[in-house]
Amino acid sequence: MKQPDSEAPEPKTTPVPCNECGERPAEVRVTEVDKHGKSVERRLCAECARSRGITAQGAAKVAVAEVLLELKNKIKDVDRKLVCPNCRLTYADFQATTRLGCPECYNAFIERLLPVIKRIHGAVKHTGRAPAADRGTATRSFEVQRLRRELSAAIEAENYEQAAAVRDRIRKAGGEEAQ
């Protein structure tokens, strides 16, 4: 576990190289525990810190619960007039319950939501997966994957008769298998 020392900003005047990459200037101090159980202070640049899941101070994590609580406590009259055209939820309703009414609410409230999203996630752009478009392919690949696991289990159990049968089912399901 690496713990950033929250109240210990790195002095800007004397740049120390990052202990990890040795190149970029260190910006974060972290306390790590070495293999002998002793705590060691290390200095990391923002990039190396981020790659280890450490947020640099300044971008200090606000507990999500705190962000949501703040929403509830800051309901104004204008929020009651901001309405989703699809489900008729008002922004004030969202603030009170912290639940949106429909996918369209994101469009209707986006200007108000963006700062909230930014505070919760530290980002406003999705970089993960997108949904699959084709049902047939998706079903086939789910079945093939499941059968592959069955195949390796059968091989591991040295049940070759079953393994051969599973392999045939994989071929039938459209998988490329398998020797």
Binding site: M1, K2, Q3, P4, S6, V33, G37, R52, G53, I54, T55, K61, A63, V64, L68, N86, C87, L89, T97, T98, R99, L100, G101, C102, P103, Y106, L113, V116, I117, I120, H121, G122, A123, V124, K125, H126, T127, G128, R129, A130, P131, A132, A133, D134, R135, T137, A138, T139, S141, F142, E143, Q145, R146, R149
Partner: protein, 346 residues
């Protein structure tokens, strides 16, 4: 569904299963063009349930008797699902048409009309997200192609609460930390997890107490990171926590062996002898017993049996196991009897 066989994730075969009970992934998804469950008309809620049932029907894992509609479930059966970590507390709340599909071995499940239209879940033993992530993503593709998800290129999967926006993914580990609790380092370690943006909760999620020194550590950020990155960070931090727990256990066995042995053997004796056991007492004593077995202080029972007893001792599971409704005092007696019987044959 409501029988005595338990989920495979309890079998203690995964990596670091002596300390990490389970790795769980949950994906939040919604159907495009339909209001989120809390604002959907009853007919729309039913339509989503039917849609999920239809999409699952094409899969060989689908067993119709494991597709359960909340309106046909008794409160005890719903409690049973919550205690087995298949359904959430919110799922158990009344007033909406909900459903849950539970896959074979309780590894994969899909909750319908909880906070979001769909919550896909996978649980596996130990600290291991690899195969589980692939599997749940594969199921996700089938459901997404069948139902049509609410998705935006900019914000990802659109969820009822913006805290789940983006990947809609919550990955969590259920971790047993008696060593760190006894050495009083637990707070420091868990605070460290919070500082790297993870959330720490008790055994049954948000707002639940930490009993038996069982903790859940999960990601908070769901937007701006890929599914793989989220799992990677959580795995790395959980591995660190496991390392600290091992050190704490080594320290305890070296410096305080007598005290720990005493604690473990007393727990063992009480569990084997008690005629009345409350749920909390059973969970706490089983936690101590688990420490004893996983550190080799006592040879039996198996870690698997202890994991299973932790679930079987919960009120609703106890009632399903005994096939009758029981008052709390009756439960305490039945619980003690169950624990005694299972430990005697272990």
């Amino acid at each position: 569904m409501f029988d005595k066989t338990l989920g495979r994730w309890l079998d203690a075969t995964g990596p670091h299963a002596d300390i990490v009970l389970s790795s769980r992934i949950r994906l939040a998804r919604n159907v495009a063009g339909v209001n989120f469950p809390s604002r959907a008309l009853p007919a729309d809620q039913e339509r989503v349930i039917d849609g999920v049932e239809g999409a699952l029907q094409n899969l060989s894992i689908f067993a119709p008797d494991r597709f359960l509609r909340s309106k046909r479930l008794t409160p005890v059966q719903t409690g049973f699902l919550v205690e087995r970590h298949l359904a959430s507390l919110e799922f158990a709340a009344e007033g909406m048409s909900r459903a849950i599909f539970v896959g074979q071995d309780e590894m994969l499940s899909v909750m319908v009309n909880e906070e979001d239209h769909l919550r896909l879940q996978t649980i596996s033993s130990g600290l291991d997200f690899g195969p589980a992530l692939k599997e749940v993503q594969s199921l996700d593709e089938v459901l997404g192609a069948g139902l049509g998800y609410a998705f935006s290129g900019q914000y990802g999967f659109l969820t009822a609460c913006p805290t789940n926006l983006g990947t809609g993914m919550r990955a969590s580990v259920l971790i047993h930390l008696p060593g760190l609790a006894l050495t009083r380092e637990i707070e420091k370690i868990l605070r460290g997890a919070l500082q790297v943006g993870l959330a720490v909760r008790g055994l049954y999620g948000e707002g639940s107490e930490t009993r038996g020194n069982l903790f859940q550590i999960s990601n908070q950020v769901t937007l701006g990171k890929s599914e793989e990155e989220i799992v990677e960070v959580l795995t790395r931090i959980a591995t660190d926590v496991v390392g600290f727990e091992r050190k704490a256990r080594d320290y305890l066995l070296e410096k305080l062996r007598l005290e720990i042995e005493d604690k473990v053997l007393r727990a063992d004796a009480v569990l084997r002898a008690a005629r009345v056991l409350t749920g909390d007492e059973a969970t706490n004593l089983l936690g101590v017993l688990r420490l004893g077995v996983t550190t080799g202080l006592i040879p039996s029972p198996s870690t698997r049996l202890i994991n299973e007893l932790m679930i079987l001792c919960r009120p609703a599971n106890l009632q399903v196991y005994h096939d009758q409704e029981l008052t709390p005092p009756e439960r305490d007696a039945v619980r003690a009897e169950l624990v005694r019987a299972r430990l005697a044959t272990a």
